[in-house]
């Protein structure tokens, strides 16, 4: 019996492609963000509100992942930014190769911001680097406030927590301070914004975060209602 040391990452092939993507994004000055949440937390709604508040000629594109259907891409296309659906056909996460393939005919020099909406899942997307500058996790108030403790990895690896559907707080037994505390237990110092994609409440803070990450020297175009 001989033991051969392997000492490499299990997902080294994914990580290799992700590193290439990251280098290309940096070379072309593209900020790439990877949005992750459970199904139904409001990733697509957040993107809709984001796209509608960006100036029409902003250099923004969206890749949106789902197991089946083009529904999300159809929702997002009406804002006249380039949008492409990635249907994974059963895979519960996006991987770097899917991003590489779907970017093949999009010239990166035409982009400043690439928003990736991952497949609705709090587990596997945490393991697959897509070359993004930051992961963003969305949690809605109709879920449990202990989700950061139950699914720590994604909260640990995300730069920002977007707490969505705060318009429903009067109707649900969700302790928003406990949710924030739990997120910061897993990820001390984690940035958190509280929003309602329905009423627009809090979206200004989200857009400010986004503009800050874009290193925006240009002013925020317009404020969401």
């Amino acid at each position: 019996m001989e033991r051969v040391p392997l000492e490499r990452k299990v997902l080294s092939e994914n990580d290799r492609i992700a590193a290439e993507l990251r280098a290309r994004f940096q070379e072309h000055g593209v900020l790439c963000l990877n949005l992750i949440s459970s199904p139904g937390s409001g990733k697509t709604s957040l993107l809709e509100r984001t796209l509608e508040s960006l100036p029409p000629r902003d250099r923004v594109a969206v890749l949106t992942g789902d197991i089946q259907t083009e529904n999300d891409a159809n929702r997002l296309k009406r804002f006249n930014f380039p949008v492409k659906q990635i249907t994974t056909g059963g895979t519960c996460h996006l991987d770097a190769r899917m991003i590489e393939r779907h970017l093949a005919d999009w010239p990166l020099e035409d982009l400043d911001l690439l928003l990736i909406e991952n497949v609705g899942n709090l587990v596997c997307p945490a393991s697959y680097d897509l070359g993004e500058a930051a992961k963003i996790v969305v949690l809605s108030v109709t879920e449990g406030e202990d989700k950061p403790l139950k699914y720590p990895s994604i909260f640990f690896k995300s730069d920002l927590l977007v707490l969505n559907k705060i318009d429903l707080l009067p109707y649900v037994p969700f302790d928003i301070d406990a949710a924030a505390d739990n997120a910061r237990k897993v990820h001390p110092g984690m940035e958190i914004v509280k929003v309602s994609c329905l009423t627009g409440n809090g979206l200004h803070e989200w857009m400010q975060w986004l503009e800050r990450r874009r290193g925006a020297d240009k002013p925020l175009a317009q404020t969401v209602s």
């Binding site: 001989e2 040391p5 490499r8 299990v10 997902l11 092939e13």
Partner: protein, 123 residues
């Protein structure tokens, strides 16, 4: 399933470097913050090797705890129950140094003919 598939692909790639042997056991390291469920990984792994030439391949899983280093006093410690306060100086300024592993650690290979267990052919 994707993770199990990546492990098996790595085993097949590595076996190309060790002619005349067969793989007995592959070892992986999984951090407790890596979002990998051990039982699910084992289930997928076993399903994927079933009735293949790798059916006898064993999966060894080593779970790695989340460890932090204190920025104030440099103490390294295991984080339990999400309490990342330094046990030595009580500082909250601590940074994560491990616990996110998803790594291939080792592969155990046996020469054909040295053991009957698992050896199915000598091709």
């Amino acid at each position: 399933m994707g993770i199990a598939n990546s492990v098996l692909q790595a085993v097949r790639t590595e076996m190309g470097l060790h002619p005349g042997t067969y793989p007995c056991k592959v070892g992986v390291r999984i951090g407790e913050m890596s979002a990998i469920d051990q039982d699910a990984l084992r289930f997928c792994f076993e399903a994927m090797v079933h009735e293949t030439d790798l059916e006898s391949l064993e999966l060894g899983i080593e779970v790695c705890p989340r460890r932090h280093r204190c920025q104030a006093c440099a103490r390294e410690f295991v984080v339990r129950n999400y309490d990342s306060r330094c046990p030595q100086c009580a500082s909250l300024e601590t940074t994560c140094i491990s616990g996110d592993e998803l790594e291939l650690a080792y592969l155990e290979v046996e020469e054909y003919g040295t053991s009957t267990a698992g050896a199915k052919s000598t091709q």
